[in-house]
């Protein structure tokens, strides 16, 4: 049997021991997973970002302008010195500012305008009357009414907000079920791996 399958099988069983209760075997593999995942991310970022985008163009591609992000990045290490730690605010401010600047048009387009346009459906066309268009419009407006806190939820606004809670419950219920099913699907995949590849009881 492939050594990789044996290791993967033992580690899978070690993690499943947590279903009984928290135990040293689970904690050991949990820390192993954390360590290896950090090490993996470290290598990937080092290679794909620091080497490919920074060091190679800076030292062999003749792009001295890249000294700016290099210095900004190194300033992050000032956090380890209490006297100089305020310097780390500079790269953080740059990242947050740039991120905020990019987010405004992106949020306006993808999260707002696109969602509004997708919600506007024809109520009547050649195919006849579409109850779905009415449901979507009602659901959208009433849920938005629920999240609108600048006015008291009384009268018509209160009724709309209450209807919005029903739509929200449908959303939460459907999302919950979808999440459970996705986790169950992964669990079945792991059990299938254990029984078929590791223990060879099936197939």
């Amino acid at each position: 049997m492939d050594i990789g399958i044996i290791i993967a099988g033992i580690l899978t069983l070690a993690i499943f021991t947590f279903l009984y209760r928290d135990n040293p075997i689970y904690r050991l593999v949990e820390h192993l997973l954390i360590g290896l995942s950090i090490g993996y991310a470290l290598v990937i970022y080092w290679q794909t970002t620091l080497v490919d985008i920074l060091f190679r163009p800076l030292f062999t591609g003749g792009k001295p302008v890249l000294l700016i992000p290099l210095v900004l990045g190194l300033l992050m290490f000032s956090r380890f010195n209490s006297r100089l730690s305020w310097l780390s605010r500079i790269p953080i401010a740059f990242m947050i500012g740039a991120g905020a600047g990019v987010a405004i048009p992106a949020m306006l387009y993808a999260r707002t305008l696109k969602q509004v346009s997708a919600s506007v459906m024809p109520l009547i066309d050649d195919g006849g009357f579409h109850i779905e268009a009415l449901v979507v419009a009602l659901g959208l407006l009433s849920t938005l009414a629920y999240f609108y806190f600048s006015r008291e939820h009384e009268g018509l606004m209160g009724k709309a907000a209450r209807l919005g809670t029903y739509f929200l419950m449908v959303f939460f219920g459907a999302t919950f079920a979808y999440t459970v099913m996705s986790r169950m699907s992964t669990f079945i995949g792991r059990i299938d791996f254990l029984l078929t590849d590791f223990l060879r009881l099936i197939g």
Binding site: L42, S82, A93, I104, T112, V116, A177, F187
Partner: protein, 205 residues
């Protein structure tokens, strides 16, 4: 200086990135691309800082004699991956990717699958049809749960269709309203950050 300089840098970076969106000029495009590269580079450095802080914290715990085997295993994991990458590179069939495929990926998938039990047990304890809203939540969850497995077809041919309808119309409409709310909220927060009204990121050193 300690407060004003970061606020000015935040404003400049934010304003440039916001305004470039409205310009198709090649200079605006290249500035946008350069700042995105800078962002990625600084992010990689923040990861290095995070790893250094994690290792430092683990070494501190080891020196105090707390959870020594676990801490050592975590640090060994962090050291092992770069060593494997240095020895064999990160290409296909390298020891680095072998560890990813046979150790990291199976463990991640198993931890992810563990949540199925906790979600199920939490819902068993928490789901009670106390009022109309709770009943709608419970009913929808049951319909979608059953509707997404093969048994739904055996119960009725309309069951999967009902599940599809719920997910694509009433559920989707509430989801869209939430997304619109997130979009408007994010935009407002982004404006507040750029204009220096929101400065919570300056707290803590």
């Amino acid at each position: 200086m300690k407060q004003r300089l970061p606020v000015i840098i935040c404003f400049l970076a934010g304003a440039i990135m916001f305004l470039q969106y409205f310009s198709p000029h090649p200079v605006a495009r290249s500035v946008y691309s350069a700042i995105l590269d800078y962002w990625q580079i600084i992010f990689a450095f923040t990861l290095l800082v995070g790893v250094a802080a994690y290792v430092k914290s683990n070494l501190k715990q080891i020196s105090r004699g707390q959870d020594i085997p676990y801490r050592l295993v975590a640090i060994a994991g962090i050291i092992l991956m770069p060593i494997l990458a240095i020895i064999g590179g990160i290409k296909i069939d390298s020891p680095f990717l072998w560890v990813f495929e046979n150790v990291i990926a199976p463990m991640q998938a198993t931890v992810f699958s563990l949540l199925a039990f906790f979600v199920a047990s939490a819902s068993f304890r928490g789901f009670r049809a106390r009022n109309l809203q709770a009943s709608i939540l419970l009913g929808t969850a049951l319909i979608v749960l059953v509707g997404r497995v093969p048994i739904a077809d055996m119960i009725s041919e309309y069951f999967p269709k009902l599940t599809f309808w719920i997910q694509n119309y009433p559920s989707m409409s509430a989801r869209r309203a939430i997304l619109i709310g997130i979009g408007l909220g994010s935009m407002t927060t982004a404006f507040r950050v750029i204009l220096g009204i929101e400065r919570t990121y300056l707290k803590g050193e």
